[in-house]
């Protein structure tokens, strides 16, 4: 059975060009870039190229790029750095819809004497900048707000938010893991201090991430060790990963147009057709401020894990914000923060596309989804009851 992969916010396929760029650096050019011999030195030069490729995509300077192991490490490094730089400031501002890399870290810091303010979002998942402004006090070490939400795709106005914190001398970090490669991110046009990226969300392999640190921003390393990354991140470089990341960023720049035309068109088609064909379904998240590849749809009166497993039988891959998929008993914290009713949150499915999806795949999903939902609604004790109540209204 062929796989129809609509779960690209979870991870993506490594693109062919990226793999080709990486392969020689496993067996042929395996030298350590820190070595004195030219066998290692040639790898060091390749890392420089990769750093330039990343910097080009971000409109940044190569020395502002630090290679890490993943988005989570980048997020943790940024927050811990700010806390180390400002030992007297014990307050962090973030939002209620952050990725666990920020959310869980802040929850832990809250037990260690830090005050965490989580800004709420409205029913469409949008952030109120006036509310941010009201909360900006001198005791804040850092404000961290995600750029694009992994579950709904909703985009936060982080560039404006960074401007507000800059005026008050407060550090600003953004988790841009879902945004880079999908929407234009140009560090020349904003004053964001730190920004996290993950390789495997943009067709580079797992195990490589980036932390952008603006020149002049005070910084304290998280991993202490050798002088790699100019002493800003110890540990021997993941050379194939870094080289793959460089290539992936170059490709992301080239494919940005396609993400916002072709991928967006397929996403919109999928969303429109599913809403039209499946009664009592709705989109979660603001459709005007959204990543071009993501749609989060709730199908009322059915449960997300059951939907995913029936989709799985047809080779269709997606995700759900239902409680049952997470192992916890509460549905997604993002949907709850938006006030999505539990009845809707349990039946939410996230479809996230990539440039490798085809029209034929989307048509197949559009054709199969109504049957899946109908089959589960046929088993649901609430479905008939709700239909009758609608008729009587």
């Amino acid at each position: 059975m062929s796989v129809i992969y609509l779960d690209n916010n979870a991870t993506t396929q490594v693109s062919e060009e990226v793999l080709d760029a990486m392969l020689p650096y496993f067996r042929e050019f395996y030298g350590n870039p820190s070595s004195m011999h030219s066998f290692g030195g040639q790898v060091g030069r390749k890392i420089r190229t990769a750093r330039e490729q990343v910097a080009t995509l971000l409109g940044a300077m190569p020395e502002e790029i630090i290679f890490t192991s993943c988005g989570t490490e980048s997020d943790n490094t940024a927050i811990r750095s700010a806390l180390t730089i400002h030992p007297d400031k014990k307050h962090i501002i973030t939002s209620r819809v952050e990725h666990p890399a920020i959310h869980a870290l802040c929850a832990q810091l809250a037990t260690q004497g830090y005050r965490i303010t989580e800004l709420p979002v409205d029913k469409n998942g949008l952030l109120d900048l006036d509310n941010l402004e009201k909360n900006l006090t001198p005791d804040i070490a850092i404000v961290s707000l995600m750029w694009g939400n992994n579950e709904t795709g909703v985009i936060f106005p982080v560039e404006k938010a960074a401007q507000m914190t800059r005026e008050r001398g407060i550090l600003f970090h953004t988790d841009a893991v879902q945004s880079v490669g999908k929407i234009p991110v140009n560090m020349k046009n904003n004053v964001i201090d730190m920004l996290s990226i993950s390789g495997h969300k943009l067709h580079a392999p797992k195990g490589i991430g980036i932390l952008y640190v603006r020149r002049g921003t005070k910084y304290s390393p998280f991993l202490i060790g050798g002088h790699q990354e100019k002493g800003r991140r110890g540990g021997t470089e993941n050379t194939p990963g870094i080289i793959g990341m460089g290539m992936a960023c170059e490709l992301a720049g080239k494919n940005m147009q396609k993400e916002n035309t072709e991928v967006k068109r397929l996403r919109d088609k999928l969303e429109k057709e599913l809403l039209a064909r499946i009664p009592q379904s709705r989109v979660n998240g603001d459709t005007a401020n959204r990543l071009p590849n993501t749609t989060n749809i709730s199908f009322e009166y059915v449960e997300g894990e059951a939907i995913l497993l029936l989709m799985n039988e047809l080779g269709i891959c997606a995700s759900s914000g239902s409680a049952c998929t997470s192992g916890s008993l509460q549905p997604s914290h993002v949907l709850r923060a938006m006030g999505v009713p539990f009845t809707m949150a349990h039946g939410s499915i996230r479809f996230s596309l990539s440039i490798y999806n085809t029209e034929k795949e989307i048509d197949f999903v559009i054709e199969k989804m109504p049957g899946i939902i109908e089959r589960l609604r046929g088993m649901s004790p609430f479905w008939n009851a709700s239909r009758f109540s609608c008729v009587s209204k």
Binding site: E303, E305, G327, T343, M379, F382
Partner: protein, 274 residues
């Protein structure tokens, strides 16, 4: 992804007995949309007061649907008293096991069955005097106590996996810990976990091999297990036992007593017709 057994997958993809029986003898609804799973169970009895038909409608994940399907298959042909003895362990065992985090799906099946039988009998709720411990999921102290007792649970996390209690705001964790402590300090025999059929059969064989057969062989006799139906162990006598006039006394007062002691107090030993 959850590691579901093939049996869970099979019952999820081809659920048995989906629907609602018209004019049922017993009906129950447990769970809610907000909780993330809910089950409506209906059954009808035959002229011998055995369950002729049972149907379900379930809102929930794959294991909730599979547990409902398994339950309706298991209770068909049972009397209501027999059906009441079905535990959540039996439901999970029928499916070849459930992931720990999904055990509450089997507990939901058990609850629906009890409520449906209460509904038929018109009996007052069994759990009189119960009070809600987990406000988020509406779980009572009695329900928690029973889950701890029947499944030999030791931690708050276990209780959440089996009953959902404590899976929301977490403010009841201390109260749950107290219930666990209380139940676990009860005399040990009470907390003996209920066996699945396969575990029971294995234990019967082991007990005969270890505790019974050596004594019989000492006197030149032996027994052989012919069948095990529920708690009835059907045996045939061999060797000296087969001709001994007192073999019936041996079976009742030695074999059965040993099996009651080591397997379950409900075991009865019968000799196969000669």
């Amino acid at each position: 992804m959850w590691e579901y057994t093939d049996k869970v997958k099979e019952h999820f993809l081809n659920p048995r007995n989906v629907g609602e029986i018209e004019n049922p003898d017993g009906v129950a609804e447990v769970g809610s949309l907000a909780c993330g799973d809910a089950l409506k169970l209906t059954f009808k009895l035959d002229e011998n007061k055995r369950i002729k038909e049972a149907k379900f409608k379930t809102f929930g994940c794959a294991s909730a649907i599979a547990s409902s399907s398994a339950l309706t298959e298991m209770i068909k042909g049972m009397t209501l008293d027999e059906a009441l003895k079905v535990t959540n362990q039996d439901i999970a065992g029928y499916l070849g096991g459930l992931p720990d985090e999904k055990m509450h799906c089997s507990v939901m099946g058990k609850q629906a069955l009890e409520k449906a039988i209460e509904n038929y009998r018109g009996a007052p709720p069994l759990e009189e005097g119960a009070k809600i411990i987990c406000e988020c999921f509406g779980v009572t102290d009695k329900e928690i106590e029973r889950a701890v007792r029947e499944n030999n649970l030791a931690t708050v996390e276990d209780v959440t996996n089996y009953t959902k209690a404590g899976g929301g705001c977490g403010s009841c964790h201390d109260a749950i810990a107290q219930i666990i402590e209380k139940v676990r300090s009860e005399p040990k025999t009470e907390t003996k976990p209920k066996l699945t059929n396969i575990q029971k059969i294995r234990l019967i064989e082991e007990t005969i091999e270890r505790e019974i057969r050596p004594s019989l062989k000492h006197d030149g006799g032996d027994i052989e297990i012919i069948d095990i139906i529920g708690n009835r162990v059907i045996v045939a006598t061999r060797g000296a036992c087969s001709t001994c006039k007192a073999s019936n006394i041996t079976l009742k007062h030695f074999v059965e007593d040993r099996l009651k002691e080591f397997v379950s107090p409900e075991i009865e030993v019968e000799e196969v017709a000669k």
